[in-house]
Symmetry: C3
Subunit: 255 residues, 3 copies
């Protein structure tokens, strides 16, 4: 239904892998590479020219890569200069500005707004309507929930860009704000609606405005299984994870 | 201006009522029914295929119904499998995922993101940029304001989906978060920027992070009329409501 | 790349200035004026008909003006009846409803939602995903950061629209909410995630839920320069400002 080869525009300098599907009304600009078996749904823009396009006479679109086996849903805008790893998937109307890298197997939800100049590891899950400021560095297996904002300017407006750093396996719950320069360790849980103004070590539950470390994540009991902790969550959640069907320790020991 | 029959795509298996208008660049996919006198503005997608479309060979698009006399503004995406009642209206760029039902006379504002598998009664008003997690159950005459988030996972990420329940006539003010499994009674007011972590009975003003019941809604004085309470609001607000021009009690007694 | 004259629709009653570029799939409706040297990127709608279009037989689209030297990025919707000053620029998917005025040199970020019937001075900077309720009045050189909401209804739902007023040079940080009728003075800083329920005088740092005035903005030390205050910010930030390269006092004295 979505692939009728209607009103599609693909630049002559784009390279399109094998078995790629491109939806109606989608535009692929110069210097884009689309990996094998990837689906770009309808009404997307891939390789959106960066700002200098509007002012430079001799503009050349930077290289953009969308990895193999990815699925970009309708109405997304992926700027030029991004490198997106294999098995990526997105919701609708996502905006990813230039010089952003995603590792493999990442998801970005509907309406999320990645401001560019940021890096994400593998298996990150950004839910709907997440706002990631420039100069953010996000580890692997990080979950970020709706309306979270990563900031970078400590006294706006200024010329400082102090991005956010998030360690592997950490979880940032809905509506939380990470203030400029904050570093969150591994295996942390930032609770809903928190305003995080300082950095925190590993395995902490971080809650409030201003946010404080309440206790170890291991103190949160599972609501699915008796008498165990839910966190670190890798022992209790495996959908879409590389340890699916074999357990986290098994996967870790055989990596 | 908006209806020039340009670049419209309507599936042969869609059924289009009498006197329907469809805007330019809009796509109506398989198995969609559009009710009589309904307007689908430009650049919309109605009956967006669900995820299995990308993986199943023999995919069949579930039935989608848009009721009579509805108005869907531009750039909305309504997934297949939704049943939307009559007199519905939407803002722009709304996303409604699969298996959502709306009663009659509901409105959903610009950018709102309904994650699917949820039910809304009649005369619900969702303002701009509301995020409704899966498994939500919303009564009749419920008002939900911008950037409100309904969550469902008590210790993310997990496999639990504990949706939100909202009673008739309740109002959820801007930027509030309802944590997983919360039930709000009838005639409640959840104040701006609240984080609601437990359930509450009827007619309460619920405010804060974590949210507490402050007092009865009847203690909020009207700023429009002397010496009366504003809540329950049905006695003081009637625009677009079925008791418009005749009063709430009158309507209730003659239903 | 973006200007191929493909699937563009321009009303016969629109007036298009000299050296204007219009992107593919963009629609310019009746009675729109586009200023000289302005760029309207692809997939935009300029002069979107107001609600009465759907109900009035003899609808006439109100006059819309986009000033000279402006840049409207892709997928924006600008309603009819707006007056937007010169050197305006926008991100993607911005919605600006009717009867809004912007002075000169304003920016509005991706996904922002201006509900109409509001006024902005010169050199305002609205970042991504800002929600401005009706009847707002914003001064000059005002910065508004992501997910800020300006409300207007003191006991929703009601018929009252008490808009927000913001003085020149004030800054509203991420995720803050201004409650109905609030007036913020000049040179203020509203901190992240604040819920502002009353009005405040000039030069204050306003933080919390409910927000309180903590101290003078002059007590916030610069992180860029030794031993000076960062605020008023005009002495420490000049990118894109009319005092760029000559200093704020110099500019002020020679206006």
């Amino acid at each position: 239904m979505k692939f009728n080869n209607k009103n599609i525009s693909v630049s002559k300098t784009a390279t399109i892998g094998d078995n790629v599907k491109i939806g109606d009304n989608t535009i692929i600009y110069d210097n884009v590479h689309i990996g094998n078996n990837t689906i770009i749904a309808n009404d997307c823009i891939i390789g959106e020219p960066v700002n200098s396009y509007y002012t430079q006479k001799e503009y050349k679109n930077p290289k953009t890569v969308i990895g193999d086996n990815s699925l970009i849903r309708s109405h997304c805008i992926v700027y030029a200069g991004n490198k997106i790893g294999e098995n990526f998937s997105s919701g609708h109307r996502v905006t990813i500005r230039e010089n952003t890298t995603f590792g493999k197997n990442c998801n970005v939800g509907t309406l999320s707004d990645i401001q560019g100049y940021s890096n994400f590891g593998d298996f990150c899950r950004l839910h709907s309507n997440v706002h990631i400021g420039q100069k953010s560095n996000v580890g692997n297996f990080v979950f970020i929930y709706p309306y979270v904002v990563f900031t970078n300017d400590p006294h706006p407006p200024s010329n400082i860009l102090n991005g956010i750093t998030i360690g592997d396996y950490s979880v940032i719950a809905v509506h939380s704000i990470l203030l400029p320069g904050v570093k969150i360790g591994r295996n942390c849980l930032v609770g809903a609606n928190s305003t995080v103004g300082k950095s925190f070590e590993d395995e902490l539950v971080i809650v409030g405005s201003p946010a404080k470390a309440l206790f170890s994540v291991r103190e949160i009991k599972s609501k699915e299984k008796d008498k165990i902790s839910h966190y670190p969550w890798m022992y209790n959640f495996e959908r879409g994870m590389p340890w699916e069907g074999k357990g986290y320790d098994n996967w870790l020991n055989n990596k």
